[in-house]
Symmetry: C2
């Protein structure tokens, strides 16, 4: 009986390195020192290690670098997403390069073109509506792509996104249960699927639960939009505000601080995306949470599957949840005079 | 008299594009659409535009991409720095790719090697002590490099950093003036020049102003370090805490919230780096501010100068300043019993 052929795991063990390091050494990845690469190659030779042809062909064409393009570096939601992706990528022996579009749809094309010329093995991207042509160019260049957070159905690309409906529905029901009846919503831009779907989820929840009065402010995903929108909604006399993303949530806090509106007493407030600024408030802020770690990890897993040719495009949706904290969890007196 | 030869500016004006777009079009940068490139080339031909030989040689070897490696994506100080750099780079027709070392000195070498293989025109990097060899490899590969935030004198590289002494000195003097005499310091890691120089600045300020009792906690630049360090310093009975960086500042807030220590009443607190989480507190937090926008813009300007061969290595230092807010600006009674 022939002994089993040596595996990459055997080579790694013999060389005293991790499997991913052994893989990168044999692929000639310059991240591995020449000394280590030489030791791995010797061990592979001694063990008569033969990667199968398909795997070898794949490896030889690879740079072991993936590109990630996010809309904003200073939005903690996307910063955390990029960090989770990088951690997972590192564990798999992949390096990560990141670019930001600064929430400018026009910059996305440029970012994707730069990533393509940088010879990355695959791309994780947060798209805008209207950026289909850029992704079509990547498809022609045979660069695997997974869309993150925002959907672009016409592209047929693998997508990982969260469903705003469970969290939004729970948020509206929670506000009503505590007597907050005049509800304002800070809506994100209609150039993103999330802006569109979260607004639809808010409207549907208001219909379902019979909200008496609702106010909608339409803005972008920036602090300034949350700030201006909150002042507008307060002027319209709302008792509660739901914010449509992280940066608008932070802008809403700033507006309330500036106008001496006490959240958790004068105003019920629910933010979007769980982060430290919202948690560390005098009245810690309730949020609709997207589970950013799961989004990032799932996105990377789908991309790795695509890069290895193992799977067709897939769409994964994760549910949102409501985290209730003191900012919204107080009872508004039923007989309070409302404007 | 011969007319002046056509300049790139003339070509750009004729083609109806910006100078940077014209430059990139003539350099064959794929970020520019084929249609625009063709129009620019025609205008250049019609105007008999001839770039001088040196400029042409430079341009032809360029990718118009710069690399930025930062220690952390979720640290708002570095996220803001990267965003400022990207904005400035975009205005100059350069694309930016970013990598993060996740505050792991070992990952810096890998990040720099990846950036080098990605054929970037230049690199802005935040280094660790001990990473001299990686920068030596970049020097041999003739890739222009500017160090940001942290110094590495042995490399002789251009560096943009801030001087912690003015801000730290003002912070200690301010605490003493308000009667906070037992002062704790959350120190960053000794593997960074900033960790070393900020601790030295704290010690020097305590000596100069005659602080009665001081306590030092040595940690890393992570939230968990700030959290654990704050609990330790509180157990030692400090009346005031100065935090050595953004993430330690955030961890300190978390620890105080968890232990129901009221900042601005029970404890005087001064954070490091001005950001929204510290501003939006019940007692807005005093900070030692580094002027991150100036750091980022200056770093990019030095890199562009190096890339054009226009200047020798340069070191620029910007001063820190103290921003006083209610977290530290209260008078501690002189007869208060202290532990």
């Amino acid at each position: 009986m022939n002994p089993s052929p040596a595996t990459l795991k055997d080579v790694a063990a013999a060389a005293g390195v991790s499997v991913s390091t052994a893989s990168r050494a044999l692929a000639g990845n310059p991240v591995i020192t020449e000394q280590t690469s030489e030791r791995v190659r010797q061990c592979a030779e001694e063990l008569n290690y033969r990667p199968n042809a398909q795997a070898r062909a794949l490896r030889s064409s690879r740079t072991h670098v993936i590109g990630v393009t996010i809309p904003s570096l200073v939005n903690p939601f996307f910063a955390t997403m990029a960090q989770v992706i990088q951690q997972e990528a590192t564990a798999r022996g992949l390096s990560t390069i990141i670019s930001s579009t600064a929430e400018d749809p026009g910059q996305l094309n440029a970012s994707l073109d730069v990533l393509a010329t940088q010879r990355v093995d695959g791309i994780l991207a947060v798209p805008y509506n209207g950026s289909e042509a850029s992704f079509e160019r990547l498809r022609k260049a045979r660069i695997p792509v997974v869309l993150l957070d925002r959907e672009l159905p016409a592209t047929g690309l693998s997508t990982v996104a969260s469903d705003p409906r469970p969290g939004m529905d729970a948020a509206v029901a929670h506000l009503l249960a505590n007597g907050h009846r005049h509800i304002g919503y800070l809506s994100g831009p209609m150039t993103t699927s999330t802006g569109v779907s979260r607004l639809a989820a808010f409207q549907a929840a208001c219909e379902r639960h019979g909200v008496e009065k609702r106010e909608i402010y339409r803005g972008g995903y920036e602090r300034a939009d949350g700030h201006a929108g909150t002042l507008t909604l307060l002027d319209r006399g709302v008792e509660a505000i739901i914010a449509g993303d992280t940066m608008m949530s932070v802008g809403a806090l700033e507006a309330c601080h500036a106008r001496k509106v006490i959240i958790g007493r004068d105003l019920a407030f629910i933010g979007y995306d769980d982060n430290v600024t919202l948690r560390l408030q005098a009245s810690p802020v309730s949020v609709i949470d997207q589970d950013v770690a799961t989004l990032g990890r799932t996105g990377l897993r789908l991309l790795v599957d695509l890069m290895s040719g193992a799977s067709p495009p897939t769409t994964v949706t994760t549910p949102t949840t409501l985290i209730i904290r003191p900012s919204s969890d107080f009872i508004r007196p039923a007989d309070e005079v409302r404007t």
